[in-house]
Symmetry: D2
């Protein structure tokens, strides 16, 4: 059993022991993932670049980063389960598409590529 | 090598081939994860509950959900790498804490538990 | 003195009495506005369409909506001040552009217009 | 007629000419405000503090900031209208509460106050 499948099974067992599947609509899970992403963003609030560079080496901040990253992963697993998404396959497919979108020769060392929208799609970069 | 370690290695190789590590500060990665979470949220925009229930079974919408979930996972792996976070351990630790926070007997079938802040911490539920 | 100018003056006086301008970089203010928008989103979490329809008529929820909308407005005024933006002029200009983008004859009663990206720009609708 | 009331009337007229009130549920408007806040955040993506400090003086970036701030304000006016919120009163009431929460003597020049949660409420600061 793959790691993601194993973690997903653990998350679903937690959910079902509490009869919480009824609250886990795709919308609720996506909104919740956004709120957890926001808690991660909150850890950067009011910090300048120097303070950000030191953040991960502060024990309390590191624990908070772990905590919020875990919440994002847990909701991502729940969304994938609810929407019938194979996260590993989706990530590998996306990396393959990004490799075409950002050829090494034209992308090397350039952050400009990040905001390219050649294909008309809103994109924030890989 | 675990799946997450293997996916992370692939993401880091993609990044380093393009010399993009210089753009991947913890702040930039957290902001980017928030923007990708927002693209997931955008897939729910203007949809009522009935439309949301049908979303994942629409081929085009399913592909878009895969795409955005992949982006969220990719940035989450980059954040974990940058901040020195073991995502699997963090998720298992969080599930253990949530099990204490939400005892089955008091949480069963109740969405009220979701907004509990007994410990004074901002929480959006497991 | 216009209302927005008057409110802005009050917000700036509050900030300066506390010597907080040093924390109000454009980035910090934009991140903070996103976090407050997230608190507004949190008020919708776990609620279905029926519960959402009743939300504003619940006294406690109405007070929370007021509170979060106020926070969003306060940060928007601070961003506009920091970036030298005339919010009223910007809003009127945007409404004029939207009127061209969404002609009544083709937009009437259609939510499809909301996701149109004819101009290649990411758009979520007016 | 106050400025906010006048702007709101213009936004509602735009909406009603297109029969769009049917799409403007409180949830849809709050999600849309979050997406527009995200577009504002996107303007900060991949930028370090030095680049951020120069952002507002770049003509193209300034126009984009105006555009996104206008979108946030327009959705905020629509939310206030839908939820029966007096934005001006809400902002003045919030500033009064913040003045109590952050006494000048203890808050002067301190960013620590920003993350205070003495009252147990999630807060990101004024």
């Amino acid at each position: 059993m793959s790691l993601l499948a194993d973690l997903t099974a653990q998350v679903l067992a937690f959910r079902d022991e509490r009869d919480w599947a009824q609250f886990h609509t795709l919308r609720n899970l996506i909104v919740s993932l956004n709120l957890e992403a926001g808690e991660l963003l909150e850890l950067t609030q009011w910090k300048n670049d120097t303070e950000m560079a030191a953040l991960a080496s502060n024990a309390e901040a590191h624990a908070a980063l772990c905590d919020e990253c875990a919440d994002v992963l847990i909701y991502l697993l729940l969304i994938a389960d609810r929407a019938g998404i194979d996260l590993e396959a989706a990530a590998r497919a996306k990396l393959a598409r990004n490799a075409e979108r950002y050829p090494v020769e034209t992308s090397y060392g350039s952050s400009r590529k990040y905001s390219a929208t050649a294909d008309g799609k809103c994109r924030h970069g890989p």
